[in-house]
Symmetry: D3
Subunit: 69 residues, 6 copies
Amino acid sequence: MKISARNMLKGKIVGIKKGATTAHVSLEVNGTIVMASITNDAVDELKLTVGMEAAAIVKASDILIAVED
Amino acid sequence: MKISARNMLKGKIVGIKKGATTAHVSLEVNGTIVMASITNDAVDELKLTVGMEAAAIVKASDILIAVED
Amino acid sequence: MKISARNMLKGKIVGIKKGATTAHVSLEVNGTIVMASITNDAVDELKLTVGMEAAAIVKASDILIAVED
Amino acid sequence: MKISARNMLKGKIVGIKKGATTAHVSLEVNGTIVMASITNDAVDELKLTVGMEAAAIVKASDILIAVED
Amino acid sequence: MKISARNMLKGKIVGIKKGATTAHVSLEVNGTIVMASITNDAVDELKLTVGMEAAAIVKASDILIAVED
Amino acid sequence: MKISARNMLKGKIVGIKKGATTAHVSLEVNGTIVMASITNDAVDELKLTVGMEAAAIVKASDILIAVED
């Protein structure tokens, strides 16, 4: 499967914290931590575990640009 | 200013392409290209130019996780 | 590749309209038209054409629920 | 009220799961399940219940397109 | 129609700028300008014009919080 | 820091409700309540408290426009 999202950051899962319905999944990507908020259902269905290789996908329209003053 | 978004990827602007209302801004972040789709107005107001240091900001809820089959 | 997004609506591309930087891609999904706004770059890279099978992917947190008054 | 979002998928609520602050609402739309992640407050205010008719609304810019390799 | 989005800011349209596919619509809401990026199609279908009363709708999960350092 | 998001609504925090992983933060902005859904982590890191001045930031592409029928 190929997808239209312009950004795919490959890394390794370093943390998974499940809440009541929403989970936080942390990836290490080139030394930077990237955190995703996804459903608990997705964590289960994808069988995500710490140490697993995964990618963070982001649509270009969901990115903001910041610069120093 | 500090913001609630969990993800701030620092890099350098390597491309700016303005459309009629929407611009595509590309950053190099640790050797990876990250593309943001923002308004032309934001490009002008922030005086974005190629070579400038900038950061890509993404809310955790806007990130999808992908794994290999 | 498997992804965390909870919604994947399979259909056929019935329209592609490219703008200066942003394209509108319409899918027919079970008789309903679904429209996505993606980058022109994505249209080119995925070689999207009218008639092609494709899926619309939506993260659960990007869906609003509406009911009649 | 009319809204600018390009996608409104009409269906019936088949599941509601409330978490601590975030709820998952599942709709059956033409035989497909669509899952929305909304606030518990919205579930209460809209008095959502299983069996109720509802629609999933999605902005075109929140849709990704996927194709087979 | 009632919707699950937690935020509806009522105001008046003070500007519409159509691009090739994407339009920018500005609302004055209690003296503040709010800008939305929507499809040209939505502008046409809703027959948006300057001076018209309208509301900006935002899902709670699409809001970031910022504070001063 | 300056950011590309077109909308920054300044106000005062009037409510914080933490869930298991996701928190709801309410701001009063010119007499209107604006609710943001952010991570508990962000609430802690920004040391958000009721009564504090804060701003709601929204990207133009995350705003829908609604008009009366």
